[in-house]
């Protein structure tokens, strides 16, 4: 999970001050919105611009924040202002990694 683009706090639209119950509540709300097909749930803000939000990402984000150690690791990144930077020009081709290791 990319701590910047897909930081669980951004995925769930929460701040590091949130409580454990708020994590559950927000995850339940977003999963419901995604199931209902509501537009607002389809993407989330991040410092690299808006990113797609899927049920898997919401579940993973909630799981990450349930674990105090993992939550702590994501907290510092979540203070970067979401949505501030434009999305990176020429975002890397997603297969590049596979290609590179395949060629190594």
């Amino acid at each position: 999970m990319d701590p910047l683009a897909d930081n669980p706090f951004f995925v769930l639209d929460l701040t590091p001050a949130c409580t454990a119950i708020e994590v559950e509540r927000q995850a339940a709300k977003l999963l419901a919105m995604l199931e209902l097909g509501l537009a607002a749930a389809g993407t989330h803000a991040s410092p690299l611009g808006r990113r797609p939000r899927t049920p898997e990402k919401v579940r993973e984000a909630a799981a990450a924040l349930r674990d105090p150690a993992r939550r702590a690791a994501f907290e510092p990144w979540a203070t970067a202002p979401a949505g501030a930077a434009p999305s990176a020009p020429g975002a890397p081709w997603p297969e590049a990694f596979a290609a590179l290791t395949w060629w190594r």
Binding site: A32, G37, A85, A96
Partner: protein, 814 residues
């Protein structure tokens, strides 16, 4: 209106059913009045099946027509014979008989036969075993089943009325398996932190130890490897088990066999007395082994026993006073009181049925919904069926137009009413409902139009139980698709929350031809390694040549989707856009048969691998590895004994040995990974250097920070010598490096040159030469997209070599 949620515990020895009505869990009584139904099936000459206590009575007197213990054979094609009826039944068919009987008991007591239910499975069940369990449930008439891991079920039931924060262990010692689960309770939320266990430790091992003692004490001369002694040993084991159970209450128990044992033609009377002290002395090493696993689990999470708040005991053998005392002594906590170790799993299953099935449309077991009036508008309502959250979200969306202008949510007891809330442009609305603690709370949804006239909505009620929320259970081992290159495309990382679903596009490495036979094979593997051959093959999508109407050239894209439900039941789909066909025929692998020949071969192979490791350990002067190899050899000796027992005709011992061997194989693989450490370390350092240099020239500040973080974790993995973590972090580092690399204008050019230098290996030389020419032309024009397109095309034409293919479980994709 009360809905009933049903859970089943399908145990090796005993099974049970329970029903949750939103406030109370009731364990269902069977026709004999008991809450435990022995997992035993008898089929008589007429083909009529009997299940439970009555069948169990025949286990001894009529073994040819009575079978138990089939849970251990789930997922195999091992048919069990019923001689009088002349039929053979698969393990899942026998499990279905047990479930059908339990379902009948629910119907007797509650007046409805459930169609939706939760069925529990052991945490370490493999994909084929879970799949067989689902099949059993379907055969028993359940239309919709959710699987739930047994330790999660126990935790839910134990957590139902215990809210203190802290760490706990659920210790589950069953007939043949031991599972321990570490949980944390915080702010009323339960979280599964980790599992450990021993697939070959349980009450049966105690029985076996007692039998060995009797054989020695009475000088019986029985040997497990002798098929002629199997019958005598079976009867002795049954007697030993009875005595053991008696000793949980009494100080002495007689081992008396109703009829003489026939040993090598001699009739031997067995009549001896076992005292509690002796039984405890024999059981203690087994108990200690289980407690060692508990301590190892705590250590793996940086805890020691002093951190524990509760230990919850589950399973028959936990009735032994010596076991309870030993746990209290070594873990320093008294086992939690007031929880019935025999029904905790099934109670949890029923509670989970509410959370998992509660927001689906009410099935039978609910009072009939009032028939919707013609004017009713349909809404989709979403809410958690069970939650710890005192103010959970309730969302909805109106499908029918016109949508009501405003909606309001009201708790039927009148204790809470929301404001009138406007319905938005998408027809959606949202509330936070207020719950009465520890109750089933029913809410009514009301709507009104712009002029304030009431609008009937359908459905108009929602029931939310305030209870325990348990985080999604984490995936025990990484799952992915084996690639022709010998690598693995990871779909779900270990620890990923379930349920999960993911799609990736693969490309075929060879032309797939129409006609007979498998044209395309996509292996699904499970394991924490980057290399496919180190992971277990758990299934495969095989596309039959008969399903193709033409040849699919190499490089054809295939979209593969893997989904896992909460209980780890895997389904896989492949979609081939070129022919617009979807293939769902996942060949679920069967648990392999445990014939003595197969087992002996596996033992021999592992022995060789261990010897190779031992040589390396001496050569590289790694004393700790020598010790590890010694330990593994000792385990292997035990497996060898199990294999010998299989020769004596004990199929169950065979399955046990098979599982032992799998665990051992995993341990040996881990040792081999440790031996490969220098290579892994080299790879990781190379990745670090590569990524850092590209990052310094082409990375963004944000990426650089991420890389620093990843490099720090990679260093930590190096320091801890943790191969799994190292591979994970190397992957992360490479991914970041790759992002920077691709910002370099020359990136595609250099990749193109690399691919072009290997063009002689391409599957289609003529086309490859053309593509190289196109790429060069694009380079000349400074057309970066053209270079990229040519590179991708070339890449698709380059084969993976035969040797690596063979190590990829014969994958046809990359």
């Amino acid at each position: 209106m009360t809905r009933h949620f049903v859970g089943f515990d399908l145990g090796t020895t005993n099974s049970a059913a329970a029903v949750f009505d939103g406030e109370q869990v009731t364990v269902v009584r069977n026709r004999q009045g008991g809450v435990l139904t022995p997992s035993v099936v008898r089929i008589n000459a007429k083909g009529v099946a009997t299940v439970g206590a009555r069948a169990r009575g025949f286990l001894d007197s009529d073994p040819a027509n009575t079978h138990g213990g089939f849970k251990r054979l789930m997922g195999t094609r091992k048919g069990l014979r019923f001689a009088a009826a002349g039929v053979e039944r698969l393990p899942e068919e026998l499990a279905a008989e047990v479930l059908r009987s339990l379902r009948g008991d629910v119907a007797d007591q509650f007046g409805f036969a459930p169609t939706h239910a939760v069925v529990t499975v052991p945490a370490l069940f493999e994909v084929p075993q879970s799949h067989a369990t689902v099949k059993a449930a379907k055969l028993a008439g359940l239309e919709h089943v959710e699987l739930l891991q047994e330790p999660v079920a126990s935790a839910l039931a134990a957590g139902w009325d215990r809210t203190e924060a802290g760490w706990w262990l659920v210790y589950d010692l069953g007939g043949g398996t031991f599972d321990v689960t570490l949980l944390e309770s915080r702010e009323g939320l339960l979280r599964v932190v980790g599992h450990d266990g021993d697939n070959f430790l349980g009450g049966r091992d105690v029985d076996a130890a007692l039998v060995d003692w009797i054989v020695r004490d009475q000088g019986l001369g029985l040997r497990r490897e002798d098929a002629a002694h199997a019958e005598a040993l079976r009867r002795l084991t049954a007697a030993a088990e009875e005595a053991k159970i008696e000793l949980s209450r009494a100080n002495e128990a007689a081992i008396a066999l109703p009829a003489a044992l026939l040993v090598d033609g001699d009739a031997i009377e067995v009549d001896c007395v076992l005292d509690r002290g002796t039984a405890e002395r024999l059981a203690l090493p087994l108990i200690d082994r289980s407690i060692d696993r508990c301590l190892a689990l705590l250590r793996a999470h940086g805890l020691d026993a002093s951190a524990l708040r509760h230990v919850v005991l589950v399973g028959g053998p936990t009735a032994m006073p010596a076991l309870r005392a030993r746990i209290a002594e070594r873990l320093g906590v008294d086992p939690a009181e007031g929880l019935d170790p025999m029904t905790l799993v099934v109670r949890g299953a029923a509670l989970h049925a509410c959370a998992a099935l509660g927001s689906a449309s009410p099935g039978p077991g609910a009072s009939p919904a009032p028939s919707p009036s013609a004017a009713a508008r349909n809404v989709l309502l979403k809410f958690p069926a069970m939650t710890t959250d005192p103010t959970p979200p309730v969302l909805g969306r109106c499908l029918a137009k016109p949508a009501p202008a405003e909606v309001r949510l009201e708790r039927v007891d009148g204790g809470f009413t929301s404001d009138w809330t406007p319905v938005d442009a998408e027809g959606a609305f949202f509330f936070l409902a207020e719950l009465q603690p520890r109750r089933a709370n029913t809410f009514r949804l009301e709507g009104r139009d712009r002029d304030g006239r009431a609008v009937t909505l359908e459905p108009s009620t929602a029931t939310i139980v305030h209870g325990v929320t348990i985080g999604d259970p984490p995936l025990a081992r990484t799952i992915g698709v084996a690639l022709a290159s010998g690598g693995v495309r990871v779909y779900f990382e270990r620890g990923a929350p379930l349920p999960a679903r993911r799609t990736f596009v693969h490309h075929t490495v060879e032309a797939a031809l129409p006609g007979a036979g498998v044209a395309l094979r996509i292996p699904v593997v499970q394991g924490d390694f980057d290399e496919a051959h180190l992971c277990r093959l758990v299934g495969a999508i095989e596309i039959d040549g008969g399903a193709l109407d033409r040849t699919l050239p190499s490089g054809t894209p295939v979209e593969v989707t893997l989904s896992l439900d909460r209980g780890g039941n895997l389904s896989a789909q492949a979609y081939v856009p070129a022919i617009d066909e979807a293939f769902e025929s996942v060949a679920h692998l069967l648990v392999p048969e445990a014939t003595p020949e197969v087992l002996e071969k596996a033992v021999a192979e592992l022995h060789e691998r261990l010897e190779a490791l031992r040589r390396d350990a001496f050569r590289l002067q790694l004393p700790s590895m020598v010790a590890d190899v010694d330990r593994a050899e000792a385990e292997l000796a035990r497996c060898r004994a199990g294999t010998t027992a299989t020769r004596g005709g004990d199929e169950d011992a065979g399955q046990k040995a098979r599982r032992d061997l799998l665990e051992l194989e995993a341990a040996v693989t881990a040792l081999e990974a440790a031996r490969r450490w220098p290579e892994l370390e080299g790879d990781a350092r190379e990745a670090m250097v590569w990524a850092t240099s590209w990052m310094s020239s082409h990375g963004t500040p944000a990426e650089s920070r991420l890389l620093e973080d990843a490099v720090a974790q990679l260093e930590q993995a190096l320091a801890q010598r943790n191969p799994r973590l190292l591979q994970l972090q190397s992957r992360h580092v490479r991914r970041l490096g790759s992002a920077a690399f691709h910002r370099w204008p020359g990136a595609w050019g250099s990749m193109f040159e690399y691919a072009a230098s290997r063009v002689h290996e391409a599957t289609d030389l003529r086309r490859a030469a053309e593509v190289v020419a196109q790429g060069r032309a694009a380079q000349g024009r400074g057309d970066r997209d053209g270079v990229r397109a040519a590179t991708e095309q070339l890449w698709e034409m380059l084969p993976s070599d035969v040797r690596t293919r063979a190590r990829s479980h014969r994958s046809d994709v990359r």
